[in-house]
């Protein structure tokens, strides 16, 4: 905390309630010019709510809000923007059908005095801005044609170069590869020198410690800890976040892991020379019963497409899939499910029915097992109650609409729907992305238990920690192809990163 200066942004006694319940309780927060302020806390701790108040997304709250020492109220995100506050939200919010340049200048296209868009100027300036950020793309490319990681970088770049004095980044690094994170950090440091105040939210505590000057910890809607980044440690922050020490946590973040030797149990799924356009190239692997296969690679390495091929969502151009010795040609996700493949995509939104009760979300994949024609609601509920109990889904109320659950619990529901009749193969994309430490651990334990029951499990992730904490064997994908396999040997985060 820089001493003797007044903050550009100062919030006092901020309280914010949703439907009569307080999401923030009397929070003080200050941001100084030329400061990078890291925010950590479990999901639901209140950090995003606070940032949305700052960015004008939630105009209703109580407490004092001062910008440059003057009491201010933003009525909308537009107000905040006009005052120089910009935010990159957790979810990608770009216009995929517009060009890169149009996205960079979204809402602020340069026009001539007749109000016509100056296309050439816009393309040139967009190209220059992106080049400064180390992104080399044709500004007239359709944004949606670029890999997701690059789209996210461009969205970040738009905000970083918008001229805002206060920039809020909510989980900006989750989809970025290490070199991209480096570029982001270099730019953030440059902006800091220019006097911009930056708030940086992340689950990656190493990132927070590396880039921040100050770190604030949230828990249950309160600010519980504020410290200089140089004066704290990962362990101390985690302890402040969850309120108590947990030895099990360390395992998740361990650096050297010895993989068990290859098992001799029967092969459940065998993929042979799968290829799909440019995204998957000649990929072969096998998974045995009771084995967790980790597939690691940077964003855009083809793993998401590969997962969809395994579940029959995308038809591969060539290659074969064999399950339990039977060759399968998955023409639909329904066929894959019948063959015993279960799939949890990386986005919970794509997997769950937010407006339906929890029990319907859980029973949907097994309805045809429990009912031929007529539904059996009591049976559905009892199945759901059992899963909710086993996976410790909170709140334990199967009648509740799914949208009322927190992200971590939704993720458990996404798993639960496959478990009442255990599948042969479970394909999990990014099973712990965006989750807090406690929920992450729960998911890890669930996966371990399932593999103990003999399921063949495939975990695909862009987070080395996820793969390291779950997998018995790891293959690394790069530009659509398998480049390395780790089995029965010592592996670590560096070695994975090096291979990818």
């Amino acid at each position: 905390m820089p001493q003797g200066r007044s903050p550009i942004l100062e919030l006092k006694e901020i309280t914010k309630a949703f439907g009569g319940v307080e999401a923030l309780r009397g929070v003080d927060f200050a941001l100084y010019a030329g400061e990078i302020h890291g925010l950590v806390g479990e999901n639901g701790a209140g950090k995003s709510t606070l940032m949305k108040i700052i960015a004008g997304v939630h105009p209703e709250f109580s407490g004092h809000f001062a910008l440059d020492g003057r009491e201010t109220r933003f009525r909308s995100a537009r107000d905040a923007h006009a005052a120089g506050v910009a935010m990159v939200h957790q979810e990608l919010s770009v216009a995929p059908d517009l060009s890169v340049a149009e996205n960079v200048f979204l809402g602020a296209q340069p026009t001539n005095r007749f109000g016509m868009v100056q296309w050439r100027r816009m393309a040139r300036e967009a190209g220059e801005q992106l080049a400064r950020f180390g992104i080399d793309v044709d500004p007239m490319t359709r944004l949606g044609d670029l890999p997701i990681g690059l789209q996210q970088l461009i969205e970040i770049a738009r905000v970083l170069f918008s001229g805002a004095r206060i920039i809020i980044l909510d989980e900006p690094t989750s989809a970025l590869s290490p070199p991209e994170v480096e570029r982001l950090f270099a730019t953030l440091r440059r902006l800091r020198e220019g006097g911009t105040g930056i708030v940086f939210i992340s689950h990656f505590i190493e990132d927070i410690l590396r880039i921040s000057d100050t770190v604030t910890v949230f828990r249950n809607g309160r600010k519980v800890h504020e410290t200089e980044a140089a004066a704290t440690s990962k362990a101390a922050l985690i302890e402040a976040m969850i309120g108590k020490g947990r030895e099990a946590l360390e395992e998740t973040y361990a650096h050297d892991i010895t993989l068990p030797p290859r098992g001799d149990r029967p092969v459940v799924l065998k993929a042979d020379a799968l290829s799909l356009a440019r995204s998957v190239q000649d990929v072969s692997f096998e998974v045995r019963a009771g084995e967790v296969l980790g597939i690691y690679g940077f964003m855009g390495c083809g793993q998401l497409e590969l997962a969809r091929v395994l579940f029959g969502k995308i038809k591969p151009d060539s290659g074969t899939l064999v399950i339990d010795g039977d060759r399968t040609a998955f023409r639909s996700t329904a066929a894959a499910r019948r063959a015993g493949v279960a799939f949890v995509p990386e986005s919970r939104r794509a997997m769950l029915f937010h407006q339906e009760p929890v029990y319907k979300n859980i029973s949907i994949s097994v309805l045809d097992r429990i009912s031929a024609l007529l539904l059996k609601p009591s049976r559905e509920r009892s199945i759901a109650v059992r899963q909710v109990e086993q996976l410790q889904i909170r709140p334990a109320a199967v009648e509740l609409d799914l949208g009322m659950l927190s992200g971590g619990n939704q993720q458990k529901v996404a798993l639960a729907k496959w478990l009442s009749y255990p599948p042969r193969v479970l394909v999990l994309c990014e099973p712990t992305r965006g989750m807090d430490v406690g929920a992450k651990n729960d998911v890890i334990n669930i996966v371990r238990e399932l593999s103990g029951k003999g399921l063949a499990i495939i975990v695909l992730s862009t987070e080395p920690e996820t793969v390291l904490s779950l997998a018995d064997r790891i293959i690394v994908m790069k530009r659509g192809a398998v480049v390395r396999e780790f089995a029965g040997e010592v592996v670590s985060k560096d070695r994975l990163l090096e291979a990818a």
Partner: protein, 344 residues
């Protein structure tokens, strides 16, 4: 999903939701019902001949054909699709059943007389086939239902035109005559058929696995696919169901009106869509049902019938119906938004 923080906390505190929140989430069911009550009260006060048992019978009869079509359309709209070919398919099926029935000699149609049961079966097969074409266009080729059924509307109208060539046919099989224009114990058969089909539709949607799939596909199609449902099969099925319901309505309608001719059912396209949507079934899919459709049918029926009783300019009637439909659409979209906000 940080936006769920607040609500999640409230759930931990005992799951109590305020009455206002419940009312808001139920708006799509409450609003149409209120509309119905207000309209009925208005016409009852405005005209002494409106609120009579006889007139209730009239209203029921008047909404029956729309009701039968709306059963199938409810399935389609619950899946977040649309079927614009319903009226044209009703028309062509009604014409077909007359085409396969022996007409009086003065009817100048080169028709193919068949036994009554064969005429009915062939006509049913025809509407099912047209529904299947809709289904294949939508699921296999991937034509949006709006466009696909727009083409089918024209195709069905074309077949109608070819069959009757501008003429009017009168005779239909006895069974169709009975169900379309007969009555039992003072209750018109067509009302009974409509009631049975609405009940059947409700039972299928509420108590069968298929019904659940319809709601889930409408609620989140991507999630349905990632749950391993055969989304294409479900979408295809609802298009066929819609066409068959329209076909049945067409056959009974021809008997009810006493003649089969081109463009006879044109007004039923808008009426059926209006009934489903006014009733509160979400155009975005996944919300609503036959119960809503029944309320919507009554709103439309009371409106059409009541406007006759208050002796209003018949041209103004059209405008008023349009305005009521617009109001219903506004409520429909708002209800969706309120609910989405409640779920966030």
């Amino acid at each position: 999903m940080t936006s769920s923080e607040g609500v999640t906390a409230s759930v931990h505190r005992g799951g109590q939701r305020s009455a206002a929140a419940i009312l808001r989430s139920q708006m799509r069911n409450v609003a149409p019902f209120l509309t119905l009550i207000i309209l009925s009260a208005f016409f009852a006060i405005a005209s002494p001949s409106f609120a009579t048992l006889d007139n209730l019978g009239n209203i029921l009869t008047q909404v029956s054909v729309t009701g039968i079509i709306a059963v199938g359309l409810t399935f389609v709209i619950l899946c977040a699709e649309i079927d614009l070919s319903i009226a044209a398919i009703a028309n062509v099926t009604g014409i077909a059943v007359a085409y396969f029935t022996l007409q009086e000699s003065y009817v100048n149609i080169a028709n193919v007389p068949l036994p009554g049961w064969a005429a009915i079966l062939l006509s049913l097969a025809l509407c099912a086939l047209l529904g299947l074409v809709n289904a294949l266009g939508l699921t296999v080729i991937g034509i949006p239902s709006f466009i696909m059924t727009l083409a089918m509307m024209q195709i069905a109208a074309g077949i109608s035109a070819l069959l009757v060539r501008g003429q009017i046919a009168y005779k239909v099989p006895d069974l169709v005559v009975t169900l379309g224009s007969g009555s039992i114990g003072g209750i018109p058969w067509i009302v009974i058929v409509a009631a049975v089909m609405l009940l059947g539709g409700h039972l299928v949607l509420t108590y069968t696995r298929f019904g659940r799939y319809v709601y889930m596909v409408g609620g989140n199609r991507e999630a349905a696919e990632y749950s391993g449902l055969n989304v294409k099969l479900i979408l295809g099925s609802v298009m066929v169901i819609s066409a068959v319901c329209s076909g049945i309505a067409g056959m009974l309608g021809v008997a009810h009106f006493g003649s089969a001719q081109q463009n006879e059912f044109d007004t039923y396209l808008l009426d059926s869509i209006a009934a489903v949507v006014v009733g509160g079934t979400s155009l975005f899919g996944g919300r609503g049902g036959i119960g809503n459709t029944i309320v919507g049918l009554f709103v439309l029926g009371v409106l059409n019938n009541g406007l006759d009783h208050v002796n209003i300019d018949s041209f103004l009637k059209i405008l008023i119906r349009g305005l009521i439909l617009l109001a219903a659409l506004v409520i429909n979209v708002y209800a969706q938004r309120l609910r989405a906000r409640a779920a966030e």
